[in-house]
Symmetry: C2
Subunit: 140 residues, 2 copies
Amino acid sequence: MILNKEFDILKRTGLSVTEGRKKILELFLETEGALAHADIEKNTDAVFDRVTVYRTLQTFVEKGIIHQIPTIDNSILYALCKHDCAQGHHHDNHVHFLCNTCNKTVCLDDVVVPTVKLPKGFTPALSAMTVTGVCNDCKA
Amino acid sequence: MILNKEFDILKRTGLSVTEGRKKILELFLETEGALAHADIEKNTDAVFDRVTVYRTLQTFVEKGIIHQIPTIDNSILYALCKHDCAQGHHHDNHVHFLCNTCNKTVCLDDVVVPTVKLPKGFTPALSAMTVTGVCNDCKA
DNA sequence: AAAGATTATTCAACACTGTAGAAAAAAAGT
DNA sequence: ACTTTTTTTCTACAGTGTTGAATAATCTTT
């Protein structure tokens, strides 16, 4: 039995191994930076139905394989969870960086979102932080 | 000449004073928390065309009257700029709070987004931070 | 206050994004 | 290999946001 990384991940999370899931997972593994639904449709040459892609992404999020990234425009981005994300509770408390030059969004896995002091009466649960600027690939 | 707040703001930013702009601005002034396009359509009883609302919001953002708030789902939220936002460059470097109970988003105008140390090669320009949890209105 | 110039609003149409239910197809378990 | 379970696909729908051109309103000037 040939074990590739995609197969391994799917098996470990208890998911059925299908062409679509392997292909989309492969895309995430070989892509530096986050992907939007549209990117996935483009890069899989529209082999899969739109709905399949949506449902696959939902499943991956639920299983802790990928996580969503907040954006200032209205699009949902997804990126691989680097650290051990168990089903249901993600550990994606890292900062995201959006490059204004190449327009890519990357996870700064080692930069933890700092805690801030909130006004009286506010109880924090989760914090998200996005920094925009110029990334290491685009620096002059 | 009667000067109300909406009129004043529109005049000061050099905008034509119209029913739609006054109404939408009024809604922002009397609303605690951020508004989505859909909220505005609902609360103005669909008196205005959808496109008018979109264009009005765009204009307000450009003129520094309101600013956009990043969300994890795919919707654009808008909120009044409290501090002096000149045309073109906003000063909305404050933290946003999304309440999981009442589902409202509010600007924590006095909580500044902290700066983080980025990896080598990354140059920051703007930072955004959203905290989710329970707000002061919803605390038990 | 009225006329012309400028700016806003509206209408119609379009593209994109995301969701739901049911049928068809594929994968998993025995 | 067969049955059960899961996944993919199809069809359809609702929402969101944008564009261009026509209409309507606002502003400026006299």
